[in-house]
Structures are given as C-alpha cells and as structure tokens.
C-alpha cells in the first residue's frame, strides 16, 4: 500500500523535473518572439548582456537599428539581458567569464580587466574591425579613444558621448554675493566657504554611488599632469605621495566639509534632487542627467548655470579639457564573431548614432545635426561646448586603476572627506593598495 505512495512521490519528483525544464524552455521561446523580428526564418541569436537599464535610450536605439537591419533582410535576433546595478553587473559578468560563459556582446570599460581579457585573446580588436569596414573616422576621437586600454588597444565601441560639469544655483550664488562661476579650484573652495558662512550647503554629491567622489579626487592630478600621473599610478611608477596625489588628497579633505552631511550614502538620485529643490548650491554630474535641467523639465523657480572642471595654478591641461567620454563600451566575444555577426555589427556602427541622436543625446559619432530648433536650448549649448573641447579628456580613475585599488580608494574617501582620516593616512592606504596590486 505504502510503496504506491512512494511511487507517487517519485512521480512528483519526475514530473516536476520535466515541468521545470519545460518551463524554462518555454520561457525562452516566449522571449524569442518578443525580442526579435516577426520573420519565421531561422534567426541568429545574439545575446547582449548590458549594464544599462532596459529602458535606456542606448538599448532602445540598438533595438531600433536591429529592427531596421532585419527589415533590410537581416536575420538577427538581439536578446538583451540587462542589469543596471553596476556592482551587480560587474560581479555577474566576471562570474560568467570565469565560468567560460562569455556573452556574444557585453558592456566593458577599458579597465585592467579588459587588458587581461585582451591578453588572453578573449576580446575582439575593434581597431582592426573599424579599419576593415572603414568607419573609424566616423567617430569622435575622444569618444572612441576613451575605450582604449592602458596598453593602447581598442576592444570596445562607444555607445554614448558625455561630458561632466558642475551645476550651480545662480540665485544662491548671487545671494551669497558670488557673481560668477569659479574658474579655479581655489576659487571653488573660497566660494564654498562663503556659501557655508551664509548658511547654505555648498556642495551636494551622490557619494553613495562612488564615482562622483572619485571625479573630484581626480581633478588636481588631471590639472597638474593630464592623465600622466594616473597612468603612472596604474603602472606602479608613481605614488600618491607625489605632488598631484598630495594636492588631490588635501583638496578632498577640504572640500569634504562643504558636502551635505551623510553624503557617503546619498545616492545620485537623492543628490540630484537636493540640487533641483534648491537645497544645495552646487552639484556635479554629466550630460546623461541633462534632461533634468532643461527648461521643460526643471522646477520653474530654479535658475541655474554650469561650469566645467575648474583649473589651478601650474595647470598643464587647458580649461576646455575636462571630463568627456564614450561611456562603457560595447565588447564582442571573438568566438561568436563570424561573418554574419560582423555584417550586423557594421550595420550598427553605420546607423546607431543617427538613431541615438534622435532621442536627444550627444553621440559618439559625428552626425548631421540638422535643424537644432527642435532640441532644447540647453542641449544645443552643451553640444556646442563639446564641439570646442580640447584634445585630452580626463580619464576616470575607476576605469584605469585596478579594481582592488579602486575599492580601497572608495573605502577610504568618505573618511577623508569627513575629516575622520588625515590626507597622510589616506595616501598611505592607497599606496599600500598600489603596492599590493603591482
């Protein structure tokens, strides 16, 4: 009698096993219909693992370009899996690659990790590819070269072009008697001091997301040495104890007192809002948040201006050289990069920027701007600035330095800004990390 019951249980195990595999298979089949074109022919699937949110305009544009490729006879089904939380994305990508499951297409920074992957022959050389299809000149050099690794190789294609600036509330500034935006870092600190004495919170920053603080840290070194100091840090030739590092850490210790309290866990959305609601006088961000500042979108009573990276005494980089980059780029798994894939990718290269531009974004490739009156004046202005940008752009530290060093910097930076840690201790911690990561 009872063994029948046992058999039942065994049966349950089996059926559910079948059901489960069935389920997952079914799920995938469904996704196929959704993502691809309507054609019945055997389609080539390309799996793209993206670090952007699924509603991001880069992904929408890629999808649009894919659709028109298929209309012209292509047979590509672009399957986008995305994970917008950057640390989750990085972890996942690394686990996938360590487990030999590299996606066909994925987002990758020109980091030391990319160098390693490249050295193992696990990335497609984009210099070669772009030369082959004769499209290299279509790119804005700053955007394309942003994707170059420290050894000069190009493994990724940029999907955006952004610049970073510091926004300021003109009403708060004039109330504090500051007539113009700071041009130098000393002026910036002096303005902060005045604002604070007036009872304002001078600087809002989304420190919880890490990168905004890193940008400020990198300011002095970029002004004093271009990207040279950073590159030498990365190769182990330089130490934080040298002048640019000393200046950088002391600057952070000083400007830190002007941040909003609790900045180290403020996320960028909250930081942005502090500025939009007039609670802080300044806020650093990039053009990807431009939509929040346009005439149409920003709160009516907010009057704002912006300035690019301030300069300093003894600067070797020009005022028109600042943060400008192509964003995290598109990398291609060489194992799946066959003729069909190549054809598809060159179609993307040829058509992507046009489509992306129509969503009102600066593009990594030169595009016909046409009638600019349909765009927001702020967007047009920022685009104009970008066309006058200098030859060098500052490179973000979190891309160039090894992950372990970056994580040590990220761990220690809030303490430095809060005055809990001295600049000496900060430099010592970073130098130690650099030493350990030779």
């Amino acid at each position: 009698m009872f063994s029948r019951r046992m058999r039942c249980i065994g049966g349950l195990v089996l059926t559910s096993a079948v059901l489960l595999t069935g389920c997952s298979g079914g799920g995938k089949a469904a996704s196929t219909e959704e993502a691809g074109s309507s054609s019945e022919k055997a389609e080539r699937e390309i799996h793209y693992f993206s670090s952007r949110s699924s509603s991001d305009d880069t992904l929408l544009s890629l999808q649009e370009v894919t659709d028109s490729y298929n209309k012209e006879g292509g047979k590509i089904k672009l399957i986008i899996d995305s994970n917008a939380d950057r640390s989750s994305y990085d972890q996942k990508l690394r686990t996938m690659i360590a487990g030999q499951q590299m996606p066909d297409m994925f987002d990758l920074d020109a980091s030391p990790y990319a160098v390693e992957l490249g050295n193992q022959g696990m990335l497609t050389d984009m210099d070669q590819f772009l030369d082959e299809i004769g499209e290299k000149d279509s790119y804005i050099p700053l955007a394309l070269n942003y994707g170059r690794t420290s050894d000069g190789k190009l493994y990724t294609l940029p999907l955006e072009f952004s610049t970073e600036m510091i926004w300021y509330n003109t009403e708060i500034f004039s109330d504090a008697g500051i007539s113009e935006a700071p041009k130098t870092l000393d002026e910036l600190l002096a303005d902060c001091k005045i604002l604070k004495e007036k009872g304002y919170t001078p600087f809002g920053i989304g420190g919880g997301d890490g990168w905004p603080l890193l940008r400020l840290l990198a300011t002095y070194p970029f002004r004093l040495s271009g990207n040279d100091f950073l590159n030498r840090l990365a190769s182990g030739e330089a130490k934080m104890e040298e002048e640019p590092g000393v200046k950088a850490s002391e600057f952070m210790a000083e400007i830190g007192q002007y941040f909003q309290p609790g900045f180290s866990t403020t996320d960028v959305a909250t930081g942005l809002n502090l500025f939009l609601s007039g609670k802080v006088a300044m806020y650093p961000t990039g053009t990807w948040e431009l939509n929040y500042f346009t005439d149409e979108k920003r709160p009516e009573k907010l009057k704002l201006g912006y300035f690019y990276m301030p300069s300093c005494e003894g600067a070797v980089t020009k005022p028109n050289e600042y943060w400008a980059f192509g964003g995290i780029g598109l990398a291609v798994n060489p194992k799946s990069f066959d003729k069909e894939y190549k054809d598809y990718l060159s179609y993307i290269v040829k058509n992507y920027s046009k489509v992306y531009f129509s969503h009102q974004h600066m593009t990594p490739q030169k595009v016909e701007t046409g009638d600019s009156s349909k765009f927001d004046p702020l967007f047009v202005k920022v685009m104009e600035d970008a066309s006058k940008i200098g030859e060098t752009a500052a490179r973000p530290w979190d891309v160039v330095l090894k992950e372990d060093v970056v994580s040590v910097i990220n761990d220690n930076l809030p303490g430095l800004c809060m005055g809990e840690e001295t600049p000496e201790d900060f430099r010592k911690a970073v130098d130690e990390a650099l030493e350990n990561n030779r």
Binding site: M1, F2, S3, R5, M6, I9, L12, V13, S16, L20, T21, C23, S24, G27, K28, A30, S31, H47, F49, R52, S53, S54, S55, D56, I79, I80, D81, S82, N83, A84, D85, R86, S88, Q91, K92, T95, M96, A98, G99, Q100, Q101, P103, G206, G208, D209, W211, D267, V268, A269, T270, L272, N273, L276, S277, K279, T285, G286, W288, E289
Partner: protein
Amino acid sequence: MRYYLIKRTKRVLYWSLMAAFLLIQAYPILWLLLAAFRPNIELLSAPFALPRSLTLENFVTIFTKSHILTYIKNSAIISFFSLSFIVLFSSMAAFAIAKMKFQGNRALYRYFLIGLTIPYSVTLIPLFTMFAKIGLIDTRISVILPLLAFQLPVSIMLFVNFYRFIPDEIIEAAVIDGCGIFGIYGRIMIPLSLNTILTVLAMNFITVWNDYTFSLVFINSAELKTISIGLQDFIGPRGLKDWGATYAAIALSILPTLLIYFSLNSRMTAGMTLGAVKS
C-alpha cells in the same frame, strides 16, 4: 484604591509599550505602501512629510518599463518547487536520522548541520562553474537547486527536533499492526508533523522568496528574473534611481505573500513551537 491605581498604571504601561512596538513594526510598512503612490520627486525631497499628492504614475511605470508580473510569477514558481522539495527531502532525511537505527547516524546529522551557517556567497564561483559545464545557467533549476540545498540543514534540524518527540511506542504499535517502514513515514510521521511542515514552509518561504544572490548570478534572461532582481529595472544611468517605481514594485511583490500568510495564519502559529515545547 491603591491596588486599583497600580493596575491602571500597569495597563497604561502595557498599552503604550504595545503601541510603541506596533508603531516600530508597522510604520515602515505603511510608509512603504503609501510611497508606492507618491511622485518620485516628493520621495526625494520630503519623504517623511505628509504626502501632498498621490499618483498612479509609479504603477504605470512598473507595468510599462518592466515585466513585474513575470518576475512575481518566476519568484512564485521557484518558491513553489524549492519549498516542495525542501519539505519532502528534509522530512525524509530527518525521519531516517531521528528514528531509524544505523551506524554513523549522529555523524551524518552533524554533517548536515555544517551547512547551517555557510554564507551563500562562499559557493558562488564553484557553483557557477559547475552549472555552466552542465548547461544549467539561465534556467529556473539553477536557482531552485542551491536554494534547496542550502535550506536543507535548517529544515532537517527542525524535523529531527520534532520527530524526536514522537514516542517510539507509536512506531512499535504501527509495526505490530503490520505497517512497513514507508507506512510509518507516510501514515504516522507526516500526519503528526503537519504543524512542523507549516513551520518549515513559513521559515523557508521567507528565504526563498527573497533570494537575491542565486537569482542574480544564475539567471540572465528577463523572462526568468525574480522580483529581487527585477527591482534593478528602475535604476537609470550612473545609479540614478526611480524611487517611486521601486516602492510600487515592492508593494506589489508583497501582496502574494500577504495573501498566503493571511490564509495560513492560525495554523502557522500552531506549528511555530518548533516542535520543542514539552507539554
């Protein structure tokens, strides 16, 4: 009179304590549910002020920009299968450990208990490599299996603990009645342990439903994502997050669990003694 006063003070004290604890526990939840209906901008500027306006915009966002219902469905499927197998496997193993006689009984129990405190992240890389080799990545099984494995120790512990309270005489009597070993398990132990089963379900459901680690690492397709991972749909460039939509998604995701809880409430309480009260 004095006695009356003391009694009254006591009562006031009792109710204020009760109210304080209730507030601590309930306020965040109420706030969360309300936040789902508040515009993002208000959440960012004055999250704890009285809401000035309510909106359904967040729900529009979660239904248009993400596949929230699919995520909830996936979490439900994964929870259903994990929980079924957890209960089945752990009650079987616990029965053998607690009631059957064999060498190494105790050592085996200890072997299972080792897994009690192991953090998930310890095993991620080896598991991923393993799953990748046999092609399990991006299937529901790849999430169900580790959840099942990691929840076995605690479930076995709960079952063993309960089975040990079942007197051997009952088994003896059953054997005399001609019951085989499977009969003892299925017709005596299982019906007796219904409340323990509910406890095991309740405790594991929380872990399984809220799983983040395994779903994050082993699931790629949007069609198979679970709710914890789906919340990342509302993060924009460089970490810019849509808080209103996030809260709306959270609010929606706790509904099914609340329904289950309300329907099981009384029985669950009965089972929660962990089978360990001597009565």
